[in-house]
Symmetry: C2
Subunit: 280 residues, 2 copies
């Protein structure tokens, strides 16, 4: 299939979708296909070298649409909290060097042994207050990602778009926004209100797509499906995000062992076909 140029321009491949595709191959594959951008992850970028990765991507004229990820703000002890904030400042610097407009934040789950969701959620708010000005000075926007409630205990105590928007509200919109990832929010009876509010508040920092498929695998991390293989009304959500004023990229982010086992170019082509059919 050949894909329309305006579709390709908006499309961004999140690096974790093709987890084992080496960065230079991924960049070449994306450039050859004519897609607009890539979402990068810190670990493979660090492995390749930060400055070298920045040059590689920019010389291929690909946009870096996001950097994943920092956060994990929910700590039991103050020394750990200091290290976490340092790591987050480092991630902001990395995003700035890569030219990524946003840094995706996974807020963190409950600290081991804790049952105190209120405290964990307050720690997220506190960390944002410490980091937002630092990010703003470097032209990087912090992007709070609400995760599906099945990750509440171990990854992210922020479980809905409304909650993410409440956390973002005290900060200037150019410093803190939210990620709308369909996988995490599709089930929410308030999702369309949340998207409209996110748009009205100027907070949509990123829009990510994949699909919801069952049965979920053990650990539930790698259960995401290719667009169209599941039950999320992807086009309705994309239209809603557009209607809320989002003009930025649409990132494809799929964690799936079967997809990871396939060659990168083949996965990219499949993503583009599925995107054309179910999202664009």
């Amino acid at each position: 299939m050949s894909w329309p140029p305006e579709m390709l321009r908006r499309f961004s491949l999140n690096q974790w979708t093709t987890r084992y595709w080496p960065l230079p191959d991924l960049v070449a594959g994306c450039a050859d296909a004519g897609v607009g951008g890539v979402g990068l992850w810190r670990e493979p970028v660090a492995e390749y070298g930060l400055a070298r990765a920045a040059r590689l991507v920019s010389s291929a004229e690909l946009a870096v649409t996001s950097l994943c990820r920092a956060g994990f703000f929910t700590c039991a002890d103050p020394a750990e909290r200091g290290r976490v904030l340092d790591d987050n400042r480092g991630a902001i610097d990395e995003a700035a060097e890569l030219g990524s407009p946003i840094l995706v934040l996974v807020s963190g789950g409950l600290p081991p042994g804790s049952r105190d969701l209120d405290r964990a959620r307050a720690q997220v708010a506190d960390a944002l207050a410490e980091l937002a000005p630092y990010a703003g000075e470097r032209g990087v926007r912090l992007a709070i990602e609400p995760l599906h409630p099945m990750f509440c205990s171990d990854r992210c105590v922020v479980t809905s778009l409304a909650q993410a928007l409440d956390l973002a509200a005290p900060f200037p919109a150019e410093q803190v926004g939210v990620v709308v990832d369909v996988y995490h929010v599709w089930w929410d009876p308030q999702v369309y209100e949340g998207i409209a509010r996110a748009g009205a508040d100027g907070r949509i920092a990123a829009f990510q797509v994949c699909d919801w498929v069952t049965p979920l695998p053990a650990g539930v991390l790698t259960g995401r499906g290719m667009m169209g293989d599941g039950c999320i009304d992807l086009r309705r959500l994309r239209v809603a995000v557009d209607a809320a004023g989002h003009r930025g990229p649409v990132e494809v982010e799929i964690f799936n062992e079967e997809i990871w086992a396939q060659p990168g170019r083949q996965v990219l082509a499949r993503c583009l076909d599925s995107y054309a059919e179910h999202v664009a």
Copy 2:
């Protein structure tokens, strides 16, 4: 450990917690322990015989605190819908014969191939309208159970307490209430508002406890933990439900392969110990 009588009176053992414990043994075990009630399931009751089960439980002076479960209202075709409603009316009759004040409703997920959550949710509302008067005439209260959003696609499009309360609102409170199961609602940033509203509206039909443990197993159905083994603030939720006016039983409902493999009396004793420590 010996358990205080007022604790035992309020405690109810949901039959699925000791899934393979034969009904007469379960009834004898509960009566010997002095617990107040049992939550029954339709399949083992049918296997034992409905009238016989009713006699068995009442002669042991145990309350039937709930009957699980009916619902599954989200159908693609009208003929199937007719069968589903007939089955629900049958379940209401069964609850009445058992003396169960409530019938637990699992609303159903998306029909195969559908992405239309709005339509599925409207079907739940329509089914309640058909069934509520029938239930009311027989002294049985329909109890809408919001399920954790990880079950949204395949089991229950009702994913929060607020949504369940909205669905219940058009009907008299004695005909339609909601189930507050900590496993399904603990993550919700609005859970305490939801509980307070449920109390104010007179809608708390049942309160069920277990715990949230990770990693989740494949399929995520049997991942529930014993109270205290996970991260849910059980006592805070129980106190909130009490403060909202709930005076009814607290049911222990755990789906867990390891627990199912243990002898019923041992599981019951463990439930009572954990309940005393983490819930009462």
